[in-house]
């Protein structure tokens, strides 16, 4: 456990769930073997306890005069005490190994998942639905790890059953045989019940998941429901599903209680048959009273290995399900990879997209105005090599020929969806902690995001909850902008960086952005007339091709299509006339 987190979690075997579990087991075989060995000591010390108690009972005063018996009683009682000490020691040692094995398997898997999800990039979300699989990542680790904890007890249980059978065989061969044949038969019987139980539990879990979804959906949309109505409809839906879950739970209860009853009945009958045979043997004088007590003790003890074996079977099934889900995640290949023979480096400078004809000159601030506007996102992704179909070049070198890590370090794409991570304000802007406070504050200043500091306690160290969901769209967007500005990349591609902020703020950010990026290559995809006056060059892109380039003011004056698109005013007034109000006939009341 001291080695956690592992410096290298190793490569998982994703060829099948069983192999996945076996590979994980092989990677930690030493603690597994040690844990199983101590687990065996733990159970055996409990298994022989009845024998010791039996001897102590026998040593008890059959003969009222026996002083020697008193000594024997003390001896055997001390042996019971010694066994107790061994049991207590083995129990905690076993538990510690169990926890170590559990944590190692769980965290190894989660580290593998962490590495894969971080490195495979957008491929994971492109291939898998953002639903159940992704939601369960964190809970699959523990479920898988359960198999590694329970294995130690399962191994110990089998060993204990065999040893008890041998001990009983020494007292009575037929009774020993009853155990040897009886226990596996009982296991088989219990497993028969386990299967339908698991099926019902699966259905119950599925319905519970659906119920939680309905609940979450309802409270997520609560502002709408409270605002315009419909609470009753959604409440009724929740209630109906809740009752379905309850009904499914009752079906689970039927089988769970049946399993419980069998776990009492079957070992109980085993106890009864041993007692019967043992008592008759005692009456015949073949067996002492102490041995009879021991027999009872053995039979009663067998309940616990039996329960552990049932538990193991249950957990193996769940671990396999978890492993299968994790495999679907871990086997997705990365979307963008270094091409064979990649070695080139770029001198940097001009960023070009031959497909559209957009060129962002080195050191200048270039705006791309796209009609239709959704083309901008696609174009921006090409400029930053978000997939390998791009023909874009950086300093004349195709991005595809550069190592991916170099592209990411030098050409930065900031899309408009402003995804934040949970953490402090500081970590939003500087996740890797490479900047000092002044640099972070400067970036916040450029993005006009310093007001966010007032919303949280502790300024830069204040925490943003729920990936920034506590912030407004505009606040999130400005934090995300500060984040890319703080990295100060050689080339920065921004998509609609101010779409969620008000006009006052947008105008302010545009001016500051220009100064902050002076001398650096910057592309901003926008159609905002408050940003465009601040840029050096505008590329006017229609249907995927550049149709005009120039300064914003010149394009406004010379290109009517551009003017209409940007100012959204077909009858745009000449620069020095005051536009007429749309509805001049309406009376306007002034209020202070």
């Amino acid at each position: 456990m001291r080695s956690l987190p592992l410096s290298d979690p190793g490569t998982p075997d994703v060829s099948s769930p069983t192999r996945f579990l076996l590979r994980t087991a092989a990677q930690q075989w030493r603690p597994m073997v040690a844990g199983s060995a101590i687990g065996t000591v733990w159970l055996l010390s409990q298994a022989v306890l009845p024998a010791a108690i039996g001897r102590a009972v026998d040593a008890g005063p059959d003969e009222p005069d026996g002083q020697g018996d008193a000594a024997a009683l003390t001896r055997w009682s001390l042996l019971v005490l010694a066994l107790a000490v061994v049991t207590a020691w083995a129990a905690i040692a076993r538990h510690r190994f169990g926890v170590t094995n559990w944590l190692t398997a769980c965290f190894r898997t989660l580290q593998q998942v962490g590495r894969h999800t971080a490195r495979a990039g957008t491929a994971v979300t492109a291939k898998l639905p953002q639903g159940e699989v992704l939601a369960s990542i964190a809970s699959d680790g523990p479920r898988l790890a359960d198999a590694f904890d329970v294995t130690q007890r399962a191994v110990a249980s089998v060993a204990a059953v065999v040893v008890v059978a041998v001990l009983v065989l020494r007292t009575s061969v037929p009774i020993g045989l009853v155990i040897l044949v009886g226990v596996p038969a009982v296991m088989a019987l219990l497993l028969l019940v386990l299967r339908p139980l698991q099926e019902r539990q699966r259905l119950h879990r599925k319905l519970s998941g659906e119920l939680t979804s309905i609940g979450t959906d309802t409270v997520r949309g609560l502002r709408i429901l409270r605002g315009i109505g419909g609470e009753e409809v959604f409440l009724d839906r929740y209630r109906a599903k809740s009752q379905q879950v309850r009904a499914a739970g009752v079906r689970v209860a039927t089988w769970e209680s049946a399993l419980e009853a069998l776990q009492i009945l079957v070992p109980g009958l085993l106890v009864a048959s041993l007692v019967w045979a043992g008592a008759r043997a005692t009456a015949r004088g073949d067996v002492t009273a102490g041995e009879l007590v021991a027999l009872y003790g053995y039979a009663a003890f067998l309940t616990s290995p039996l329960r552990m074996l049932v538990e193991a079977a249950d957990k193996y099934v769940r671990a396999l399900v978890a492993a299968r889900r994790l495999i679907t995640l871990l086997e997705v290949p990365a979307s963008v990879v270094d091409r064979p023979g990649t070695a080139a480096t770029s001198p940097g400078g001009t960023l070009t997209d031959p497909e559209s004809g957009v060129t962002a000159a080195a050191g200048r601030l270039t705006a791309v105005v796209c009609d239709p506007p959704e083309d901008a996102a696609v174009l921006a992704r090409r400029l930053a090599r978000f997939d390998d179909d791009t023909r874009a070049t950086f300093g004349g070198v195709p991005l595809r020929d550069l190592p991916v890590a170099e592209v990411r370090a030098r050409v930065l794409l900031a899309e408009d969806d402003a995804q934040l991570f949970s953490g402090t304000i500081r970590e939003q802007v500087d996740p890797e902690r490479v900047h000092d406070d002044a640099e972070v504050l400067a970036a916040l200043e450029v993005a006009d995001a310093r007001d966010v500091l007032d919303l949280v306690d502790g300024g830069l160290a204040g925490t943003v909850t729920e990936r920034g969901r506590s912030l407004s769209g505009g606040q999130r967007q400005r934090l995300a902008l500060a984040r890319v500005l703080a990295r100060d990349p050689e080339a920065l591609v921004l998509v609609e960086p101010t779409s969620a902020v008000d006009a006052h703020t947008e105008a302010r950010i545009a001016g500051r952005l220009r100064r902050a990026r002076a001398g650096r290559t910057t592309v901003v995809a926008t159609a905002s007339p408050l940003v465009l006056p601040e840029v050096d060059d505008v590329c006017w892109v229609r249907d995927g091709r550049v149709v005009a380039t120039g300064r914003h003011a010149d394009l406004l004056a010379t290109d009517p299509g551009y003017r209409v698109f940007v100012t959204r005013d077909a009858a745009a007034p000449a620069p020095d006339t005051v536009p007429a109000p749309r509805t001049p006939d309406r009376t306007v009341k002034e209020h202070p």
Partner: protein, 588 residues
């Protein structure tokens, strides 16, 4: 500005637990009785064995014929078999009943929770955000599920079984049974030591597990940002870091258990040793029989199971209690308005010298007055934090003003019954939640009884009829989570269609289209125009053209309306609006 939802205090929790116990008293008592009977049946084994030992030992000593002894053995074993069968059957019934009861109680709790959640006051819903509520709906209800369905019954059963076992031991051999006392000091001291440290230890551990889940989830949810910013290796380190701190927490709780487990294990076994030695003494002095000693020793062994169960669930119960306090805590939310008798006499909305403060002493609005003409479109512009959204909320009757009043037709807006308010004034925010339901249900929220035609008309009004009819099942298509995904613009159109059906005379639009890309926004503006037709509108706007199209514009700065007038008037006046307008048109 954010308020956290209340968590129930100790008294409240106890009150609610008592209420649940009262409501489910009869089935609960029946269940407990069954469990007790099952436990009694389970106690038969050691008792019979003790008798058998005495019988057989006595018979051997007295030289009784084997057949006679054998018959007694047969009878005793037959009783034992009957007891085992009875225990199994009773346990089955008891277990089934307690699970069924627990399912019922848990269903009741979660339904009560959602009922309270959906009745939360408007102002609380608007301010609290959904995060806390979502985590109560998921994490807390889940944690409670475990406690209610397994924890509470297990504790009850373990308690009953422990008590009955001790009673049986005392009954079978009162003098030997004194050995039980030998276990108490160790059990008590070790457990007290452990319980003083464990709750905090486990709470910290759970918090770290929460961080693991969040961190891995963010890797996936924010994958595009991870990729774009080249954060992969940083995220790998972060996951390892979080795992590292989780391991430290785990190691701490393990160290607690390393002390506690052996201590209680010894506490179980010491009484057995004492019972043997003490029992030997008693037998030698003919104060107890061997059979009695045997029985008590076996009961002591049998006591380990339920006592362990009791201790193991104790921790769990504390988690459950915390979740319970959060689930029932919602009922402590005070209503945010009192209904007044006044009825609106017209559709005129009027704000008079309105001031508002979320926290006392820190007002965000100062003496704002505004009269809206029916059918008028007012645009509200101004910098972030100026109080635009707050003004919108007051007009929409979400919050009551701290000073002054907001009235519709002469009646205070927050004094209207909720249904009445909704039918008159609606607030539309940038929130565009699509419910996981059919498209029809999504539109007909406000008017569940709407006909197919009415829903389609509403959709047609917002220019959405065509794509809706093109969906796989038309109006019945499941949308939202796990359904057909809607684009942001489509989601917003659905939101607008809801409004058409709800048909309020006044709309407050709070940056309703600001999160959309400009293309979608343009398209939506056409849909929006159809909805706004004939209604009084207050549009809190980011985009200047929205302001330009309005009848009047209010510039809000520092919690006051600093400019108010038509576009032409404001441009003429040469204030901050005129300045922005000029830069918009390339005259900056």
């Amino acid at each position: 500005m954010r308020t956290t939802l209340p968590v129930a205090d100790r008294d409240h929790v106890l009150r609610d637990v008592r209420r649940l116990l009262r409501e489910h008293r009869d089935p609960g008592l029946r269940m407990l009785a069954l469990h007790a009977l099952a436990a009694v049946a389970g106690l038969t084994g050691p008792f019979l064995l003790g008798r058998l030992v005495d019988d057989v030992v006595g018979a051997v000593r007295d030289g009784t014929a084997f057949e006679v002894v054998a018959r007694r053995i047969d009878v005793a074993v037959a009783v034992l078999v009957a007891a085992v069968v009875a225990q199994a059957v009773l346990a089955r019934l008891a277990r089934k009943r307690s699970l069924v009861l627990a399912e019922g109680v848990f269903a009741q709790l979660r339904e009560e929770f959602l009922t309270r959640a959906t009745a939360l006051p408007l102002s609380v819903v608007e301010q609290a955000g959904t995060g806390d509520l979502v985590s109560r709906t998921t994490n807390d209800v889940d944690a409670l599920s475990y406690t209610v369905r397994y924890g509470a019954p297990a504790i009850l059963v373990a308690f009953v079984t422990s008590v009955l076992t001790v009673v049986a031991a005392v009954f079978s051999g009162p003098l030997v049974a004194l050995a039980i006392l030998a276990g108490f000091p160790g059990l008590f001291l070790a457990t007290r030591w452990y319980l003083r440290r464990a709750p905090q230890g486990y709470a910290a551990e759970r918090a770290e597990w929460g961080r693991i889940s969040t961190t891995l989830g963010e890797n996936v949810e924010n994958v595009r940002t991870v990729e774009a910013l080249g954060l992969a290796e940083h995220r790998v380190r972060l996951v390892d870091d979080v795992i590292g701190s989780t391991v430290r927490r785990e190691r701490y709780t393990l160290s607690l258990r390393t002390v506690w487990f052996p201590s209680i294990e010894m506490s179980y076994l010491v009484p057995v040793v004492v019972a043997l030695l003490w029992g030997g003494f008693l037998v030698r002095h003919d104060l107890q029989t061997i059979g009695q000693v045997t029985t008590v020793v076996l009961y002591l062994r049998q006591l380990v199971g339920p006592v362990n169960e009791l201790l193991a669930w104790w921790d769990e119960l504390q988690v459950g209690q915390a979740s319970f306090a959060r689930v029932v805590g919602l009922s402590a939310v005070e209503p945010d308005r009192t209904q007044l008798p006044a009825q609106p006499e017209s559709d005129v909305v009027h704000a008079d010298a309105v001031g508002f403060a979320y926290t006392p002493g820190r007002p965000v609005l100062h003496g704002v007055s505004l009269a809206l003409e029916p059918g008028e479109r007012l645009a509200v512009v101004g910098p972030t934090g100026a109080g635009k959204s707050t003004l919108g909320r007051l007009i929409a009757g979400i919050n009551a003003p701290t000073d002054g009043s907001v009235q519709v037709g002469g009646a205070e807006v927050t004094g209207l019954p909720l249904d009445e308010l909704r039918s008159r004034i609606a607030l539309v925010t940038q929130e565009r939640h699509v419910f996981a339901a059919s498209l029809r249900d999504n539109v007909a929220l406000a008017a569940p009884g709407s006909s197919q035609e009415q829903v389609l008309e509403a959709l047609a009004a917002v220019d959405a009829r065509e794509w809706v009819l093109a969906l796989p099942d038309g109006l019945d298509t499941a949308v939202g989570e796990n359904g057909v995904p809607l684009s942001a613009a489509q989601a917003q159109q659905v939101a607008l269609a809801r409004l058409v059906l709800a048909d309020p005379h006044t709309l407050v639009l709070d940056e309703a289209t600001s999160l959309l890309d400009p293309n979608a926004a343009r398209h939506l503006e056409r849909s929006l125009a159809a909805v706004l037709e004939g209604r009084t509108t207050v549009a809190i706007a980011h985009r200047l053209h929205t302001a330009h199209d309005a009848d009047r514009i209010a510039v809000v700065e520092g919690g006051r309306i600093t400019e108010l007038g038509t576009h032409a008037e404001l441009v003429h006046a040469g204030g901050s609006y005129a300045h922005l307008w000029r830069s918009w048109h390339g005259e900056g």
